[in-house]
Symmetry: C2
Subunit: 352 residues, 2 copies
DNA sequence: CTGTTAGCGCGTTCAG
DNA sequence: CTGAACGCGCTAACAG
């Protein structure tokens, strides 16, 4: 009674294992009556096909692999959450392939295209080299991309440039004229590009508003709160400091907030800050930000993986998710020294 | 050149596949010279054993499975991070089995003990039923426990009771006499027990200090910030409210902080709050808390999995990690002025 | 010590 | 439409 295999079902139904296989996989033609016999045998025996063995026979590991850099970053992990959720229904475990160092990417991809050959592969934020793509192709793996793009591959993304413009315009509409930008290094070691695209949106918004790009107002560096804090410090130390900062991620925005507090500046009265992503901590910090549906991006990726599995000939899909401005307590009109009324601090921002 | 199998190596070395297998797995006896021939064939051919096939032959899925409730909780995820990190070196992917509903636990375990049969299994925070344990046993799976215990199984944990006492004593030493407690429901649907143990530590500390348990001072409910906030409100609404609160988790402590702000109380002047875990957000919120090495707990679990894999006869290990008090800005001596008197606005606690 | 023979549980040709 | 046979890549008896 411990493990019922395809043979047990075949015997019980009085057919060959091949027929059971055909019924289970909806492949080939099976007479309706035979199919019924098999199906009832399956239910009376409580047969569950062995995913590992099935994988072996088809040369695939029974999991959906996710290649993701810095999986502990709240934004990355929110995406994973969405996949885990969807894959649970799909009956496939999700395996994590974390990239903390640039070399991890190649190592994992080699293993994935080599002996592991997962049922599905999702690549988050990373840029695949042509060599890696070729290798995956040979292995019959068509990765689904999230937060990155490549010709011929399905992708789940947002319009980052529009998001950058949305954030910047929010500040401009509040009346800010001096808006700084803090983002990632343009050509970082991982090939992330979201920050660049958001930066492009920032530039576009400024240009459309007829505002100049001020010297030293755009700062990029390795991703992280610390770095962002230093950048914000530098920004605030300028002779004519910005009255508002657009940070390409919430993490960086949080760094900017810390810098402001260090300097004894009141947010948002003395300085407005807007972030990007709307990770969980953003709400707690009362951070104004651009929300992108992180969890949903994972769900969509899982959906596409499943659809491509069901229909390998399927054309690549481009799934663009919506973004929205979430106005909280870190943005407000600039504090003009000559301004008439004194603005009093509003009630303490409370999360939740 | 696409895939080099064990047969290629065998041919190249002029031996049988079994011998190659023995060399690769360090099983059985192989003459040193033969071993050398095999090894050199392996390197010249660049052979990498197929983990999926190996799994199939031994009836095991080539991953380390992690059964973890609410994996998106910062504390749970920090543990997963540690495992992912260690398993990368180990050459095994980590698969996530998230438990969001009590029924997920059984479903996953059935699958794990059924067709999936991972190389290793780590169970976080959950209580296994005897039925589940039996099933795992039959499947030859010996789970490694984290943040939970069971006779005969290895576990990675902390001394939660000592932690509860440590937190409480911190408050008592500051001079607080009226200390409230907020924790999880005693018999929640998932069988979590950490909160209970911390509560025991709280009671012990009070007793040792000769302090009474005041009516309505100990509140438990479903885990979550919202619930904790309500409990804190209730605590603060008492005729003689506590001057300090020990929350069994940082999440709950954050809820308590929110309640304090709502009431216009200054933290830590009017109310001290201490949490537990030291998740990332705790630092940002300036929360005093008990730190437990979450990431390291994952690393240790991975280590034990590997050691038990190498030596199945190994005795169960009990790995107790150290905890430390991290004093930040939410605890201070009590404000000994007129109790029901004036309440001032809180100066926002600043992180970093 | 090493080679031969069986499978692991299933998918997938091929006949029939 | 269905069954028998083979193979995925490797491990595990069983001989020798």
């Amino acid at each position: 009674m411990s493990v019922v295999t395809i043979h047990d079902v075949a015997r019980q139904a009085g057919v060959a294992v091949a027929t059971v296989s055909r019924v289970m996989n909806n492949t080939g033609q099976v007479r309706a009556e035979t199919r019924q016999r098999v199906l009832s045998a399956v239910t009376t025996l409580g047969y569950r096909p062995n995913r590992t063995a099935r994988g072996m026979a088809r040369g695939r590991l029974a999991t959906v692999a996710v290649l993701v850099p810095f999986v502990t970053h709240p934004s990355a992990f929110a995406r994973v959450q969405g996949m885990v959720e969807s894959c649970r229904d799909l009956g496939l475990p999700v395996s994590l392939f974390d990239v903390e160092l640039p070399e991890h990417q190649g190592e994992h991809l080699r293993a994935l295209a080599g002996d592991l050959r997962p049922e599905g592969l999702v690549v988050v934020s990373l840029q695949l080299t042509s060599d890696e793509r070729a290798r995956l192709d040979e292995a019959g793996l068509r990765p689904v991309l999230v937060d990155t793009e490549a010709a011929g591959l399905s992708t789940v993304c947002i319009d980052d440039e529009a998001g950058g413009a949305l954030a910047t315009n929010h500040l401009l509409e509040l009346g800010h004229q001096r808006v700084g930008f803090i983002g990632d290094l343009e050509h970082d070691r991982f090939g992330f590009t979201a920050s660049e695209r958001r930066h492009a949106g920032y530039l576009r918004a400024l240009a459309e508003a007829g505002l100049p790009q001020r010297a030293g107002y755009q700062r990029t560096g390795p991703h992280g709160r610390e770095t962002a804090r230093e950048h914000a410090r530098a920004l605030l130390a300028l002779a004519e400091p910005p009255t508002a900062i657009f940070a390409a991620s919430d993490t960086q925005a949080l760094g900017a907030l810390e810098a402001a507090r260090e300097q004894g500046l009141t947010v948002p009265d003395d300085l407005s800050v807007i972030g990007f992503d709307d990770v969980e901590i953003a709400e707690h910090a009362g951070l104004t930000t651009i929300r992108q549906p992180l969890v949903d991006s994972g769900r969509q990726a899982a959906r596409i993986v499943e659809q491509e599995r069901a229909d390998p000939g399927r054309a690549a899909e481009r799934c663009v998710l919506d973004i929205t401005l979430v106005a909280r307590q870190t943005t407000a009109p600039p504090h003009h020294s000559a301004a008439a009324g004194r603005r009093r601090r509003a009630a303490r921002p409370v999360g939740g």
